[in-house]
């Protein structure tokens, strides 16, 4: 493991528990986050499989769950959304790859607060255990969707999963908030204070920028969700009326009065919209990194990319109302939210054109990480273009509760972010595990997944425009929806094939971990700091040496250079520093 063990100042811990379980090493913690997210994504994927099968065969008895009743369907929906958003989309890109590569890419020996880092992971783990526990308690998992709208989520007797299951759900979210806040604090301090000599902010790789901006969003957003969750727990268990108006549930008058369900929606979406960017920004970062590396060209418009990400983060806090056009908000507010939402299209377009500009007339190396990065751009465009449609209050009122929205957010937030993760996995696997992943299987996995995800989520747009409502358990009882059943069937078959293809990835991952060909220190001929150190990196990342940075992160094809790339630590070149 440690190629320069004699030189480095920090010897790694030797015991199994200190080395692999309660490790303070950001690299081990990153891998722990990665495997936690991998476990979570398979749980979430299995739930979606059950839902998709149920939608085309509502009366079929399925393994583990038996016949799916409407409330069971809603439980699956809730848990799928929550697990995927929090424990996959937030955990892997930031907690996993961010933890592993942010310190290395800025030339630091570890995170700023290693103990806090460990605590952050294990808190996330406890959060995951708590949410999984919701399946096994009296009444089962909650029904209120990942957005947890009251009064359904705030009244214990509102449904079978709304008892202990819902309490566990909120507790899990609160624990996750604490973990994310600890993580965000660590990421920010590390980026601001631990950069190697010469690593100015404008020489940071775009991945580091994306993790940095994501951490700012997390720091500002998760506190809001935490307080919203505490209010919800109080409404549920202490009889307060923050969110619950006077209401009759199951024939019984509740003691609550005067609360407003809209208050939750405002607080939740003030967190919820930045959360979308928390999920996607790291994907943008890694896509920029990979497109530049495999196009053998500097990233097109580095500064524009940085400012675009900052703008996306900034606007992300001002558009939460576009999730609430259906709530009866004032048309003036709706207009403001609509306008601000469409403003996000500008930095998003800047990013997209810069990605295309990076690839334009390049000698592209079509290896698996690159394929996934191109896939990310494709999904970002197809998922993103329906955003300006939904940003129009008039159109949104028609489309809001249909599959159009499901298709939109799955493409842009779900699958695009997942493609970012796949790209990151194929790209950094050699550095993380010291071996190469199988290229052929990687490509097969890519093509099935790309075509499969489009086959699942593109028809949802048509389904939505045709009036196909979302969140319904059975469509077979409604005459006009029955005509749309063939689309559902197509999507389910596509989902089964796509899910099956993910086993190619998992087998490739584990097989390569032990049997893959040994990786060199810099297999992709990339320029950033993780590629100057040994593979896998030693305990203190650079073997006791502090790297000194002289160049920008994307110096490819520099005229007069000996190779077609210049490492960040190489002697300065004329165009460096941006």
């Amino acid at each position: 493991m440690a190629t320069s063990a004699t030189a480095h100042a920090h010897a790694g811990p030797q015991g199994f528990i200190r080395k692999y379980i309660f490790s303070l090493d950001h690299k081990v913690i990153g891998i722990q986050y990665f495997f936690l997210a991998l476990t979570a994504v398979f749980v979430g994927m299995f739930l979606s499989l059950l839902m998709r099968i149920h939608l085309i065969a509502p009366l079929a008895s399925l393994p583990l769950v038996g016949e799916i009743k409407p409330e069971t369907y809603l439980s699956l929906l809730t848990m799928h959304g929550t697990i995927m958003v929090f424990f996959v989309l937030t955990t892997a890109p930031q907690g996993g790859f961010g933890n592993y590569f942010l310190p290395i890419q800025i030339g630091a020996p570890d995170m700023a607060f290693p103990v806090l880092n460990m605590l952050s992971f294990w808190t996330t783990f406890v959060g995951f255990v708590v949410i999984i526990a919701a399946f096994f308690v009296q009444g089962g998992a909650p029904l209120h969707g990942w957005t947890g709208y009251p009064p359904l989520s705030a009244v214990q007797s509102a449904g079978p999963g709304e008892g202990l299951g819902a309490d566990l759900w909120i507790t899990s979210i609160a624990i996750f908030c604490l973990a994310s806040l600890m993580g965000a604090l660590n990421f920010l301090t590390t980026t601001l204070d631990m950069r190697a000599k010469g690593m100015t902010m404008m020489r940071m790789p775009l991945t580091v920028w994306s993790w940095f901006i994501t951490a700012i969003l997390g720091l500002l957003a998760f506190g809001v969700l935490l307080s919203a969750g505490i209010l919800l727990l109080m409404d549920r268990n202490l009889g307060t009326s923050f969110y619950v108006p006077q209401i009759i549930v199951n024939g019984q008058i509740m003691l609550h009065k005067g609360g407003s369900p809209l208050l939750w929606q405002h607080l939740f979406w003030f967190f919820g919209h930045p959360e979308v960017y928390i999920a996607i920004l790291p994907g943008m970062g890694v896509t920029s990194q990979i497109l530049s590396t495999f196009s053998r060209k500097p990233i097109f418009g580095y500064k524009a990319m940085v400012y675009a990400m900052l703008a996306i983060g900034f606007f992300g806090f001002m558009v939460w109302g576009h999730h609430m056009f259906m709530s009866g908000m004032s048309p003036y507010s709706a207009f403001a939210f609509s306008l601000l939402t469409m403003c996000i299209g500008v930095p998003s377009a800047i990013k997209t054109f810069n990605w295309l500009g990076t690839m334009y007339k390049a000698r592209i190396r079509f290896q698996t990480p690159m394929l996934y990065a191109i896939g990310f751009v494709s999904l970002f465009v197809s998922g993103g273009l329906s955003g300006p449609f939904l940003a129009q209050p008039v159109l949104d009122i028609q489309l809001h509760d249909t599959y159009f929205v499901v298709g939109h957010f799955h493409l842009i937030m779900g699958v695009a972010a997942i493609f970012g993760m796949f790209a990151a996995t194929y790209y950094w696997f050699p550095k993380m595990f010291g071996r190469m992943m199988n290229e052929s299987w990687g490509r097969i996995h890519f093509f099935i997944t790309l075509i499969g995800t489009y086959a699942i989520f593109m028809p949802m747009h048509y389904l939505g425009m045709a009036g196909g409502t979302r969140r319904y358990s059975q469509y077979t009882e409604v005459a006009y929806l029955q005509k749309l059943m063939p689309i559902h069937q197509f999507m389910t078959y596509a989902a089964i094939i796509t899910i099956a293809a993910q086993f190619i990835f998992v087998i490739n991952l584990f097989w390569s971990m032990f049997k893959g060909p040994k990786a060199s220190d810099n297999p992709w001929e990339a320029t950033t700091l993780e590629w100057i150190t040994a593979t896998p990196p030693p305990h203190d990342n650079f073997g006791g040496v502090t790297p000194v940075v002289h160049n920008g992160p994307y110096e490819y094809g520099v005229p007069g250079a000996a190779r077609d790339f210049v490492m960040q630590t190489d002697p300065p070149v004329a165009s460096s520093g941006h």
Binding site: H8, D193, R195, K197, M201, V224, Q246, H266
Partner: protein, 268 residues
């Protein structure tokens, strides 16, 4: 005075000697003159880029650790602020909502009837403000001790009585006093018939004071931690970092309490 200067000279000589030992055993691939802040690499004026807070020996240096801890504390303060900002917005929104009365079929305002135990709360406020002063005393005391630590480590050098006033202990006691005072205030509210679910403003009184108390408890734990490490004779520089950031946090807690109190008092 002459003795002190001689002691400092001795200290510098010892440190240089120690550095030479490191230089003899440490063989980095980059030349030594390129490491650390004094390196010869041109760094553009728009900031950034340091040595990662690790001295040439590879051991963390305390100045960098202190800077880093303060930065972390600023982030933590931002987070806690966001929690209270969102609770405030919930407070303001809920305050403006009417409640429907079944019997009269009309809307009415169910807000503003809670009677706060003013005297107790003012006493608590005074206790917390005094504790903020004692905390500042503790911070300055330990900063001074940390600065003099190299001198004190020289054999034969004494700086006189080292005990000093127990600022840290007094702060922790005052912190506990504040929490007990808040507990009594809740008891008083309960005695006046205002429970958590009685009406929306009593809910918020309990919520905001409890949220503040939970965060203050975190501060007290930090003080106890610093006190424990002092008993264990850990290096004073490390303890200084804990006390320093705890002091920042503590002052923030005092400001936050005044904010919460003002919100409950004026936005009725």
């Amino acid at each position: 005075m002459g003795r002190l200067i001689a002691a400092l000279k001795l200290c510098v000589t010892q440190r240089l000697a120690r550095l030479e030992v490191y230089m003899a055993t440490y063989t980095p691939s980059t030349p030594m003159n390129q490491l650390g802040r004094g390196g010869s690499v041109p760094v553009p004026p728009n900031g950034g880029g340091d040595d990662g807070g690790f001295s040439d020996s590879g051991l963390p240096n305390y100045a960098a650790r202190l800077r880093r801890a303060r930065l972390g504390m600023i982030c933590a303060i931002v987070t806690v602020s966001m929690v209270f900002v969102s609770l405030t917005s919930a407070y303001i929104v809920r305050r403006g909502l009417p409640t429907f009365d079944d019997s009269t079929r009309t809307y009415f305002r169910d807000w503003g009837s809670v009677q706060l135990p003013w005297v107790l709360l003012f006493i608590n406020t005074a206790i917390l403000l005094i504790s903020s002063l004692t905390m500042e005393g503790a911070r300055r005391q330990i900063a001074r001790r940390a600065a003099l630590a190299p001198v004190r480590s020289i054999p034969g050098v004494s700086l006189g009585d080292e005990r000093g006033f127990p600022w840290l202990g007094v702060t922790a006691v005052l912190g506990f006093g504040f929490l007990i005072g808040q507990w009594m205030a809740w008891g008083e509210l309960k005695a006046r018939g205002f429970l958590v679910s009685t009406n929306p403003d009593s809910s918020f009184v309990y919520l905001l004071t409890a949220a503040h108390a939970v965060h203050l408890t975190g501060g007290i734990i930090a003080l106890l931690w610093a006190g424990t490490t002092s008993l264990l004779h850990r290096p004073v520089e490390g303890r200084r970092i804990v006390v320093d950031v705890a002091a920042w946090y503590w002052h923030f807690m005092a400001v936050l309490w005044i904010y919460v109190f003002a919100l409950l008092a004026f936005a009725r």
